[in-house]
C-alpha cells in the first residue's frame, strides 16, 4: 500500500495499486457485450453452414431451361401464403393466451394441458391431416383444412414462447399490475410482454410449415411445397425444384420482413437486474378460471382429435397388430432417441452461439430473424440431396462423419436450429447487461461467468429448445429418408415406410405407440424438472 499526500490537508491513507498486476490474464466476459469483429463472421458462418449443402443443386438451378413461375406455381404459392397467414394468426390467437395462462395461473388440468400441447409436434403434419380426414371426411378440404392442421402444429411453439416470456416477468411488475387493475391488468401486461416472442414463434413455425407438402396433398390444395415435391419426385428435375425453392424462400423473406423488423428488437425487454423475484402462480378464479378452462378444453380437443382419428382403427378392430407395432418401435428406438437428442443438442448449441453472436444490436437481430425465415422455408430435400452429392464426391474415409448417424443429427440440427435461436435470443436478451459489466469489473473470467451465471440463466430456455427441436427434427421424414444410414431408420420414418400398404390398424398402433411413448417421456421429464425446481 502506498501512502500519498493529498492536495489540501495532510497525509491520508489512500490505496494505489500498480496499474498492471502480475496476475493471470483472463478473458473478460465483456466480449459478450461489446461490438466485436467476431460477430458477423460467426453469424455468417452459421447460416452458410446450413446453406452449403444446397449449393450443388442451386448451381444446377442456373442451368435449367424450365421456367419457374407460371400461373400454376403462382397460384400454388398464393395458396401457401394464405395458409401460412391463417395458421400464423390462429396459432398466435390461441397459443398466446394459453401460454400466458400456463405461466401465471394454476387451474384444473394445467399440467395435462402443458403435456398435451407438445403432442402435435410429435407427428408430421401429414399424419395430423390424415387423422382429421379419417374423422371428418372431405369436409375439411382446401385451405381451411391445411390451415387447421398447421395451426395446431405451430400453436405449441407460440404457447411455449409465451410461457417462457411470462416466466421472465418479475413478481414486482405483476403485483404492480394487479394493484393497478386486478387480474385483467395482469393478463394484459403478460400478453403484451409475451406477444412479440409469441408472434416470432408463430411466424417461424409457419415458415417451417411452408416446406411441408403433406396437408396440402391430403386436402387437395396445390401448394408451393407440393409443386416442388412434384419437381423432385415426379420429374426428377433437381434444377427446377431448386429454382422453385429459391423463389419461395425469397418471397417469404419479403413477406416476413415486416415481421422480422418489428419483432427483432422487441424480442425481450432486458430485465432490470434488481428485479429478480419470481412470481408464484395464483389460482385462477371465477370468470378467469372458466375462460382458461374453456380455452384449454378447445385446444386439447383440437390437439387430440386428429390423433384419435389416426389411432381409432387400433382400438376398433386390430389388437393383433400391437405386438408388431411394439417390435417396430423396439427396432428403431435407439436410433429415434439418438436422432432426437443429437439434433436437439446440435440445434441448441448452434442456436445459442448465434444468439451470443447477435447480442443486443437491433440490426443484427433483424437480419438473423429474416435469415431464419429463409432457412426454415427451404425444403429439406434441397439441402439433403445436395449433401448426398457432396458426400458421394469425397473420399470414403469421411463416411463415418458424413454418412453416419452423426450426419443425420447434424443435418436435422441445422434444419431446426433457427427455432432454438429464437428461444436463445429471447433468453439472452433477458439477461441484464449489467451482470456482464459487474463480472468484467470484478475480475470474473469469461469461462467462470459462463459456467456460473450465464449457463444457469439460459438453461431453462436451452432445455425447452432441446425438447422442441428434438421433436421437430424427428418429424422431418424427408431428411430421415434421404440421409439415414442403411438399417438405421427412426420410428417416425418406419411409420411412413410401412403405412402405404399396411392395414389401418397397424398404422394406428404405430402412431399410438409413438405418441404414447413420447407423452410418457415428456410427462416424466416435466415432473423431473418441476421437482428439481421445488
Amino acid at each position: 500500500m502506498i501512502v500519498l499526500g493529498n492536495q489540501d490537508n495532510g497525509t491520508r491513507n489512500v490505496k494505489v495499486w500498480p496499474i498492471r498486476r502480475k496476475e493471470k490474464q483472463l478473458v473478460s466476459p465483456l466480449i459478450l457485450e461489446l461490438p466485436g469483429f467476431w460477430r458477423w463472421p460467426t453469424i455468417s458462418a452459421l447460416f452458410l453452414l446450413t446453406l452449403v449443402p444446397a449449393l450443388p443443386l442451386l448451381t444446377e438451378a442456373s442451368g435449367t431451361a424450365a421456367t419457374v413461375a407460371g400461373n400454376v406455381f403462382a397460384a400454388a404459392l398464393g395458396n401457401t401464403l394464405v395458409v401460412a397467414a391463417m395458421a400464423t394468426i390462429t396459432a398466435f390467437a390461441f397459443g398466446l393466451p394459453i401460454g400466458v395462462a400456463l405461466s401465471v395461473y394454476e387451474f384444473p388440468g394445467r399440467r395435462f394441458l402443458g403435456s398435451a400441447l407438445v403432442l402435435p409436434l410429435l407427428l408430421p403434419p401429414f399424419l395430423l391431416a390424415l387423422g382429421w380426414t379419417m374423422l371428418l371426411g372431405p369436409s375439411l378440404a382446401g385451405p381451411f383444412g391445411a390451415a387447421l392442421v398447421f395451426s395446431v402444429w405451430i400453436m405449441p411453439l407460440v404457447a411455449f414462447a409465451a410461457y417462457a416470456a411470462g416466466k421472465g416477468l418479475s413478481a414486482t411488475a405483476i403485483e404492480a399490475a394487479r394493484l393497478a387493475g386486478g387480474e385483467r391488468r395482469v393478463v394484459i401486461l403478460m400478453a403484451r410482454y409475451a406477444s412479440v416472442p409469441g408472434l416470432a414463434a408463430a411466424g417461424l413455425g409457419a415458415a417451417l410449415s411452408i416446406s411441408d407438402p403433406g396437408p396440402g396433398q391430403v386436402f387437395g390444395l396445390p401448394t408451393a411445397a407440393s409443386e416442388i415435391l412434384t419437381s423432385f419426385a415426379a420429374l426428377n428435375d433437381f434444377g427446377l425444384a431448386a429454382r422453385q425453392s429459391l423463389l419461395v424462400a425469397v418471397v417469404i423473406v419479403f413477406v416476413a420482413a415486416p415481421l422480422a423488423w418489428f419483432t427483432a428488437p422487441r424480442m425481450a425487454r432486458a430485465l432490470m437486474a434488481r428485479e429478480v423475484r419470481q412470481s408464484h402462480r395464483r389460482c385462477a378464479r371465477g370468470l378467469l378460471s372458466l375462460a382458461t378452462f374453456g380455452l384449454g378444453f378447445l385446444i386439447v380437443t383440437a390437439v387430440l382429435l386428429p390423433i384419435l382419428g389416426l389411432t381409432f382403427p387400433a382400438t376398433s378392430n386390430g389388437a393383433e397388430w400391437f405386438p408388431r407395432a411394439l417390435s417396430e418401435a423396439a427396432r428403431t428406438a435407439g436410433n429415434t432417441v439418438l436422432y432426437a437428442s443429437g439434433a436437439g443438442l446440435i440445434a441448441v448449441f448452434l442456436g445459442f452461439v448465434l444468439a451470443l453472436a447477435v447480442g443486443r444490436d437491433a440490426g443484427r437481430q433483424r437480419f438473423v430473424i429474416a435469415a431464419c425465415f429463409f432457412v426454415l422455408c427451404l425444403p429439406p430435400a434441397l439441402l439433403n440431396l445436395g449433401l448426398i452429392r457432396i458426400t458421394a464426391a469425397v473420399p470414403a474415409w469421411t463416411d463415418p462423419i458424413f454418412r453416419s448417424q452423426f450426419a443425420m443429427c447434424l443435418v436435422l440440427g441445422l434444419r431446426v436450429f433457427p427455432i432454438a435461436a429464437v428461444l436463445a435470443l429471447r433468453s439472452w436478451a433477458s439477461a441484464a447487461p449489467s451482470w456482464t459489466h459487474a463480472a468484467a469489473l470484478h475480475g470474473v473470467s469469461l469461462p467462470v461467468y459462463a459456467r456460473r451465471i450465464l449457463v444457469p440463466h439460459l438453461l431453462p430456455a436451452a432445455t425447452a429448445a432441446f425438447m422442441l427441436c428434438g421433436l421437430l427434427a424427428l418429424a422431418d421424414i424427408g431428411t430421415a429418408l434421404l440421409l439415414h444410414p442403411p438399417g438405421a431408420a427412426s420410428f417416425p420414418l418406419a411409420i411412413f415406410t410401412v403405412m402405404a400398404n399396411a392395414p389401418e390398424a397397424l398404422v394406428a398402433w404405430l402412431a399410438l405407440v409413438y405418441v404414447g411413448t413420447a407423452a410418457i417421456f415428456l410427462l416424466g421429464a416435466s415432473r423431473l424438472v418441476e421437482g428439481r425446481r421445488t
Binding site: N6, K15, R21, V276, S434, A438, L441, H442, G443
Partner: protein, 252 residues
C-alpha cells in the same frame, strides 16, 4: 502525486445518432470524493461506465494514474485491472448465486468476501439468494462485492434508488465509514442531494453532455451556478448543514 487518479481528456460518446457526452475534460484525483449531478440523460452514468472501462469513448482519452486506460474506440486497460469496485444502478447481483458467491466470484478470496459481508452487516445472510433479500439487503451485498477485492475506487451509480430514508441513511453512514477505513475514493452518480452532501466533497454538474459547473462542495454551496447546485444549497439550508459556509466536509 500528480497524475494519480482518473483524467478525462476531450471525451465524446454517442449512442447511435444521439450524442451523450461532448468534449468532456475532467480530473478525478485519488482521495477526492466526486459527485456527478445532472438531469436524467445528461451522461452521468455514461461517464462512470467509461471510467470503469466497460464502454469505450468515441473520441478522447481516459488516463489512470497517468497511463492511457481508454482511447477512441479502444479499451487499453481492462476493467478488472483498474481496481474499481462498482455498485450498479440495478445492483447487477447474479440471481442464481447466494450472497457469498456473488461477492467472491471475482478476485476476492472467500475470507475477504466474508469480511466484506461482515463490514456491510449482512454476514448472517451469506447463503441467501438475492431474490430472498430485501432491497436494502441487496444493496449491502452489492456494496460488499464492490469492496471485497480491496479496490482503490468505489463507483456508485444511483445505488439507493427505491430505498426508504432509514435504510438509505444507514447505508450512507456505512459507506462513509468504509471509505475512511479502506481509503476508497468515491465517484458518485446521484440525483439525491442527501447522498451528495453525505458522500461528496467535489461536485460536477452535467447538462446535455457538457460540464456546466464544477468545484468543491463548499464553493458550490456558497455560490451555485446551476439549477442542480441551487437545489443542493436549498436542501443543505433546510438540513441546517453549515458546510456551505466552508466548514469541513466528508474528506478526512
Amino acid at each position: 502525486m500528480k497524475g494519480d487518479g482518473f483524467e478525462l481528456r476531450a471525451i465524446s460518446k454517442s449512442y447511435g445518432k444521439q450524442a451523450i457526452l461532448s468534449d468532456i475534460s475532467l480530473e478525478l484525483p485519488c482521495g477526492r470524493h466526486t459527485a456527478l449531478l445532472g438531469p436524467s440523460g445528461c451522461g452521468k452514468s455514461t461517464i462512470l461506465r467509461l471510467l470503469a472501462g466497460i464502454e469505450a469513448p468515441d473520441s478522447g482519452e481516459i488516463r489512470l494514474h497517468g497511463a492511457i486506460a481508454s482511447a477512441a474506440m479502444r479499451i487499453v486497460i481492462a476493467p478488472h485491472q483498474r481496481t474499481i469496485g462498482m455498485v450498479f444502478q440495478d445492483l447487477a447481483l447474479w440471481p442464481n448465486l447466494v450472497a457469498l458467491d456473488n461477492v467472491r466470484l471475482g478476485r476476492a478470496t472467500e475470507k475477504a468476501a466474508r469480511e466484506a459481508l461482515a463490514l456491510c452487516g449482512i454476514e448472517a445472510l451469506a447463503q441467501r439468494r438475492p431474490g430472498e433479500l430485501s432491497g436494502g439487503q441487496q444493496q449491502r451485498v452489492a456494496l460488499a462485492r464492490a469492496i471485497a477485492a480491496e479496490p482503490s475506487f468505489l463507483f456508485l451509480d444511483e445505488p439507493f434508488t427505491g430505498l426508504d430514508w432509514t435504510t438509505k441513511s444507514a447505508l450512507l453512514d456505512m459507506i462513509s465509514r468504509l471509505a475512511r477505513e479502506l481509503g476508497l475514493t468515491i465517484i458518485l452518480v446521484s440525483h439525491d442531494p442527501a447522498e451528495v452532501l453525505a458522500l461528496g466533497s467535489y461536485v460536477v454538474v452535467l447538462e446535455q453532455g457538457r460540464i456546466t459547473e464544477a468545484g468543491a462542495l463548499a464553493e458550490v454551496l456558497e455560490a451555485p451556478k446551476s439549477d442542480a447546485t441551487r437545489h443542493l444549497r436549498t436542501y443543505a439550508i433546510g438540513l441546517g448543514d453549515t458546510r456551505y459556509k466552508g466548514a469541513e466536509n466528508a474528506e478526512t
